[in-house]
Amino acid sequence: MLAEVGRYALIAASLLCLYSMVVSVVGARLRRADLVESGERAIVGLLFLVVFASSILIYALATSNFQFEYVANYTSTTLPLPYKLTAFWGGQAGSMLFWLLILIAYTTVALLQNQSKNRQLMPYVTTFLAGTCLFFLIMLLFAADPFKKLSPVPVEGQSLNPLLQNYWMVSHPPSLYIGYVGLAVPFAFAMAALITARLDSGWIRAIRKWTLFSWLFLTVGILQGSYWAYIELGWGGYWAWDPVENASLMPWLAATAFLHSVMIQEKKGMLKMWNMILVLISFSLSIFGTFLTRSGVVSSVHSFAQSPIGNYFIVFMVIQIGVSVFFLLKRKKELEPEARLESFISRESSFLFNNVFFLVICIAVLCGTVFPILSELFTGSKVTVSAPFFNKVIMPFAIGLVLLAGICPLIAWRKASIKNLKRNFLTPGIIALAGSAVLALLGIHHWLTLLFFFCSMFVLVTVYNEFTKGTKARMAMVDEGAPVALYHLVERNKRRYGGFIIHTGIALLFIGIAASSFYQLDKEVTVPLNDSFTIGAYTLKFKDLQLLRDPHKELWRAKLEIFKGEKQVGVLVPERHFYKNSEQPTTEVAIRPFWNEDLYLILVGPTESGAGIFKVYVNPFIGLIWKGGIIIALGSLIVLLPDMKTKYAVSTVQDTGGEEFAG
């Protein structure tokens, strides 16, 4: 009964979608505000229906209603309630419904925000968002039905994979989805701007924060995924260039490029066509990412079932790209730049390079990800590439991007003079060089690490300079104490200083990546009880091994004491669990973070003689990856904060002649 109601809600929702699309377009063509409003009201109805359908599925999950095939496939009566609920996005049909739910919520918010703004754009924004909703509804009705019924009704469900039963399953997938789906809104605005030929910066202003919001969630989602992999999966690393990981990285790269180049359009009226293309690509990649993740077309360690939804995605992507390209070509003339590039050494060109690098990395990731599919399609034999390919191709551009993160915000517009270059870059360059020299003397001879460190250091010093210069200037001008001046500096120019904070996070993240990739130590050992072994600066003494049982599982627990020299600095307790109903062991890694590195220990198992088999890693500075991530998130939040109208007449204090991050 419930299942039928859910299905009817989805059918009604599809009709409403169609209605909304038609009246919005007709209303816009005939300039009938009443029709346009009716189309917008239909979206509210749509929101209601989709929330209703989702509630039915969530209710069925919570009450273990195994009439629903979906509920039986992903939960069981013994599964704790939070994981029953997270199964909403754990399986295919549910995750599609979740996508739709977020999309319709975004659509509603976008309409509410623009009730008295951008009125010419809104009918088409509604049409494109409703069109995207319709696509997901069709898929839910014909290919991935969350309300499919089982008969006979099983007594027990198949439960959720034990690997997914942890906190990260609660927060990682939604973060990614919120990010992916958010890119639909900029796309709809871009299309509306193209169709109505209102290509001034109105649409750009309307979507800038949407894009940043999506970007923030994608960033956080990706980093959560890597952290999950690191602490739960037990192979010592955090990123494997798996197709599903790449699927989330590609829209992130395109959106990052857009967030940068949009500043050039706002400031200079250049790159209009390019920005359009980036918005369209970002959304295409977010659909493509969902497709890769969910269709099973590439073999991934995330191995999802081969499924029919792939074809639906392909049709949708073809339509979406076709329509986008058609309107882009139609408006080619209107997208001509208002200014020309004057000099190679200028902020404009540094931004161009930033964009080219981001796009090049994106294309390289795409190549590596789809290469197995294409090679099979064209040559009949499947050829795969793995981590070394990605690392090799991306490395030079990644280094270039970190360096640009230091240069772009400070180099002068139009044409940088020698004086400008000297003033902004001489000290950071010298300090970074000196820092690298010190590292080299300390024994870091890996040149790539040194290069990464140099670039990151350069960024950090430029950011530090900007903050101190700005704060000092304010202190001198308005007679404020340093903390107050700093606060006002950031508060008055959130975009610029929030951007600097994001760059700080990026620089730290890259130090973490470089140090942990090039200086990781690892060792496999078999040790008898009370014996010890060493890795790096640490000696680990194997003190205890126990077999524990509870109703759900058996577990082996080892205890090792960590010594640094003579001094004991901690204890590691790695475990290995065997769940009874899944016949599958799970590894509980033990990690002891020190200020500079993580000691990471996996219990592989006991030998028959009672010795322990361990795999141990030392990961230098790996923690900086996620600490950098937190700083990036903070910086983004600062930029996202709404602007307060302030009464002060004091103009913002700037040193480099820039008003915002881009200028």
Binding site: L163, F304, V385, F389, E524, Q584
Partner: protein, 134 residues
Amino acid sequence: MNGKTALVASILVVVAATGFLVYTGLTDNMVYYYHVDEFLTKAASLDGENIKVNGKVQKGSINKQNLDYSFVIHGMPQNIVQVNYHGIVPDTFKDGSDVVVEGSYDRDARKFHATTLLAKCPTKYEPQNQSKPE
């Protein structure tokens, strides 16, 4: 040389560099991927080459001695390959798992020496975050 020419020239350099890196990256790092059935028809010509083979772990075939594993993967029931592996196996590696092994085939010993081992869970089709491919 004015700004625009310099820019176009350097972007061309970037594009060319990318093309070069992608091309050499692909040719240096590409690994052929076969299903067991297909692999066996070509095994003679693949001696010693680095490849990936996908198959199912034969029930009861897993032998382990500490970190040394030997097991059999199969496609069609009669198509079997003996595999050796040293290292940590993913949590999902067990009888009946769908696995991908990367390594080389020793034609004389009729054994596949795997350097990496990936396993997918046989009963569920949900995210199988396991051992990394490298």
